[in-house]
Symmetry: C2
Subunit: 213 residues, 2 copies
DNA sequence: ACCTGAACACCGTTCAAGT
DNA sequence: ACCTGAACACCGTTCAAGT
């Protein structure tokens, strides 16, 4: 005779081991979100699938994130932190300020190539992630890393004096465009070749100008 | 007494006026799609809403487009055509090749500012729109417009000889990055100010280099 | 506090059916 | 050929309920 009660009590026995309190559900959701975005992209990413992977019901995430956008903003904030770290790590090897500018840009592109899913969420989310306080601050810190390279170059005489902002914006546009076109596979080279292109030609062209011989 | 049959026959009377054959449903859908994307963005854009606006049932679009992506690809193809036109129109006013290079980049940014919805679909669609034949050709034609400016500048002596490709790629990255950051509202200026920034500083910085005094 | 299942109003896509 | 309504398997989000 099939004893339903056995299965029922077995099922009940499993749950009480960790009935609630996932431990750290918030972090688990964030991790699952990053992994899912890496697999299917930020657009196909769904909150319900994230919950499934974290082993909770489809609305448990609402305890930790107000909505889908807030979870994406958390992914973006993590991304801005990694971007800043990538630029700092790369820059530190430079001897001159101009060399550090070059390496900082290299770090920006390297981040995009290593974490394309973060990069995409940070810059292509349907909403402006920097509207979320933690993202706004992290984004400003990342930009400040680049501005600092300009200031150093000016102090060393490698770049003209004056407001560093215009040069920071053009630098940003250059590396951002290259990084973005690379991970979107729009360039006539493999993404892995883009850092080599930047090292061998791109950085120098941005520093010395398109018209330079 | 309420005569239901009257209403029923009135409803029937409306339909036969244009029962099928929307005239040109394909173009109507494309137009509705562009308008909808402009309103809600490419992510919130839905095929069902496009159909609603075109006045057809939610699956009538499948007669003209295989799926949602194919309609987006059609929007992107239209966008690449307008981008090429914008660059050509702007370039034509230049006296020297370097001036035409500058104006071509200006046309690129102007297109993004004028048709941000097309620009976004062209470059941020979840799938690679250039996989669609008509988009691929239109995208290559747009890029070729930029390469041509480099070749002209080389012929005139304004840029060093050699493969124009590396300079075309760096030029593309610069204007693409500026355009993209502008319409994403990530720059510390209003989108309308970005063309002025390009005219007053950006283009010169790209041509003469960040380190130039 | 934290999590659940049921429910609501949507999607994209498919299919058999109508003219 | 071109369009329709019904159906399927999904979403994000809300809510009353359980521990």
């Amino acid at each position: 005779m099939l004893r339903l009660s056995t299965f029922v009590s077995e099922n009940w026995a499993v749950k009480p081991d960790r009935p609630y309190h996932h431990g750290n559900l918030k972090d688990a959701l964030l991790e699952a979100a990053v992994a899912l975005i890496a697999e299917v992209g930020p657009q196909a990413f769904t909150l319900r699938e994230v919950a499934r992977r974290a082993g909770v019901s489809h609305n448990a995430p609402y305890r930790h994130f107000q909505d889908r956008d807030e979870l994406l903003a958390a992914v973006a904030a993590q991304g801005f932190g990694r971007l800043t770290a990538s630029m700092r790590r790369a820059s530190s090897a430079g001897e001159t300020a101009l060399e550090r500018w070059r390496l900082c840009g290299r770090g920006y592109i390297a981040f995009a190539l290593e974490w394309p899913e973060h990069f995409t969420v940070m810059f292509e989310a349907a909403f402006d992630v920097s509207q979320y306080p933690e993202c706004g601050a992290a984004g400003r810190a990342a930009f400040e890393t680049l501005v600092e390279r300009i200031r150093e170059a000016q102090a060393e005489g490698g770049m003209p004096e004056g407001d560093p902002m215009p040069r920071a914006l053009v630098s940003w546009a250059g590396v951002h465009g290259l990084a973005k076109l690379a991970i979107s596979r729009r360039l006539p080279m493999e993404p892995e070749q883009v850092l080599g292109f930047f090292d061998g030609f791109g950085a120098e062209a941005m520093l010395r100008g398109m018209a330079a011989r």
